[in-house]
Amino acid sequence: MNSLRRIFAILQKEIRQLSRDRLTFGMIIGIPMIQIALFGFAINTDVRHLRAAVADESNTELSRTLAADAQATQVIDVIAHVRTATELEALLRDGDIDVGLYIPPDYPRRLQQRDRSAAQLLVDGSDPIILSAARQLATLTQHYDSEPPQSLRAALFDIRNHFNPERRSAVNVVPALMGVILTMTMVLFTAVAIVRERERGNLELLINTPVKTVELMIGKIVPYIFIGLVQVTLIVLLGMLLFRVPIEGTVANVYLGSLALIAANLSLGLLISTLAQSQFQAMQMTFFFFLPSILLSGFMFPFAGMPKAAQYIAEVLPLTHFVRIIRGVMLRGADLVHMVPDLGALFAFTAVTLTLAVLRFHKRLD
């Protein structure tokens, strides 16, 4: 009973301080907004006027209609007509164009076949903006003057994705970005919350009261769990409103998966707080952890493309597992039940860091 009272007292104090700490408060809301805005701008799918060239080897009525329709979308501006696919590739490689539209000689015949694409878009895939734009183009269908549009045909284009094997878009980035933001803020906030008390001398008073280590840690952590959930909500909403990022799975799964990551990050923050002597050190340690998380988790670079050693390191990082979980839940509609290994990894990470933190945190100054 007294224990609950003490936890509640710490919790209340923490929330009071937080509401008066404009900087931290700003970061809670500001970081997700800025990150979403930054990444959202970079991955804006609504791109127009890409430089394009057409190689129409078919040169038929149908193929000319296709080229005109592509131009009419305003996604591309056809700035050159060339004769062969090779010439298109050369232009693409030299950076003269962003998109190449290749229409093979047998285009009319290909249109009749369901298993082959009729034409190709050659895309500079090193730029995700262009890649997503090309996807938009790929939804074009062939217009016929006489007959009604053929609905049988699934894909008119086959997108040849040069330089970037993994397709990326807002849809792909936003869920993972949630993990990045949670990693950045949750670890830092908890680490700093305790180190700040040590730096300001509050801890010397606090550990001289009947407050127990576990009570202190719970009281310190719980407000940040809520803050984490607020951030998750903010990111999901912004993703939906700005980029139409879907939630194919259940909302409950999104929150449960996020909670697992929040728990892992908060425990790590606690552990850092027992190691760092100053807020600056806590920030350095957080950054030291944050960098590999961002680079190796599969958020920036496709996981499969990384060297084995990097993959092993990545398996230790909570963000790696979260990126898998959240992409599965939000994009593929997977259920958490099918993600037991990744969830288990997050729980294991939490258990280990939390144990270390509690063991390391003495109610003493030495």
Partner: protein, 314 residues
């Protein structure tokens, strides 16, 4: 344990790496006493207090506080003690009332008790007009009163005060000590560290610390009476020249100028201290006025630390 002893230590020692911050300190602090720790910065006052609270683990030696073995039973002790840290350690971004309520909750005071105690403390420490003010914006004296109000909110049996008056004006210091005596009269034991001689003189008993060692202890009276030196005052002399000269004399422990006088501490082993000084000054300053005077606590302090230095050098 209701014996008359609040704190007892045996060879209490604390090392930081190779530095011995507290060196084999043997303390006995009676209950309901105001016990002083007198010593310059770095003499180990804070470190000793922290060990007695259970915040630092002793490197060697034993401590028994309120009958509890420290650090083993430190958790039990925490409810019974109050600790006012050297540096202000309440929350600067919380208001006076919020800080006090937080402390009350942490010590699990009942609801009625909490209201009662907080009201009493606000009244007693003259803080009731500004309960909504953030602690960070208070003056030095107000902060100190708030810190003491918080440290005594749960009515501890034993109160540790680490240099409580270092950021406070003289009037506030006097008021502060008035309050300490009230507490002691009601049975609270107080251990207070200071580097002010006038404060040390007000303690029931004190220990003089120097570079980690306890060099003397007892009541101020006893310390002054048992000083290991003769205290001499010199007037009507070329003070500067006399001082230079005396500093060269063996068995002169220290020479301090106080306005128009020189205060000289001479080794106890010298039989006739006034004669000894007169002899030393006869050649250069024959007309000086030399007098044996009563020792002050400051003399005790200087003599104890100087003697220790000499032992070391020898």
């Amino acid at each position: 344990m209701s014996s008359g002893i609040a704190i007892r230590t045996h060879n209490l020692t604390r090392r930081f790496g190779t530095l011995v911050a507290v060196d084999r300190v043997n303390l006995t602090v009676p209950r309901a006493h105001i016990y002083g720790f007198l010593g310059p910065n770095g003499s180990g006052k804070s470190t000793t207090i922290r060990m007695l609270c259970g915040l630092l683990k002793p490197s060697a030696g034993e401590a028994e506080v309120l009958g509890l073995n420290i650090p083993r039973e430190a958790e039990v002790l925490k409810r019974k003690i109050g600790y006012m840290t050297q540096r202000f350690s309440l929350y600067e971004d919380l208001s006076i009332i919020e800080n006090l309520e937080f402390i009350a909750e942490v010590y699990s005071l009942s609801r009625t008790r909490r209201h009662e105690r907080i009201a009493q403390q606000l009244e007693l420490f003259d803080l009731k007009d500004r309960i909504k003010q953030r602690a960070g914006t208070l003056s030095g004296g107000q902060k100190q009163r708030l810190a003491l109000a918080a440290a005594t909110l749960h009515e501890p049996e034993l109160l540790f005060l680490d240099e409580p008056t270092s950021a406070v004006d003289p009037q506030s210091r006097r008021d502060f000590w008035e309050f300490l005596f009230q507490l002691a009269n009601h049975g609270t034991t107080i251990l207070v560290s200071t580097h002010y001689m006038d404060e040390a003189e007000r303690c029931h008993a004190l220990a003089i610390l120097d570079r980690g060692s306890m060099v003397a202890d007892g009541t101020p009276k006893a310390l002054e009476a048992n000083i290991d030196a003769h205290v001499i005052e010199i007037e009507r002399a070329d003070l500067h020249a006399a001082r230079q000269l005396l500093l060269q004399v063996p068995r002169v422990l220290s020479v301090t100028q106080l306005g128009v006088r020189l205060r000289v501490l001479v080794d106890h082993a010298v039989d006739d201290a006034t004669g000894f000084i007169k002899d030393a000054l006869r050649a250069s300053q024959p007309g000086v006025d030399v007098q044996l005077v009563r020792a002050s606590l400051e003399d005790v302090f200087v003599a104890a630390t100087q003697l220790r230095n000499r032992e070391r050098a020898a």
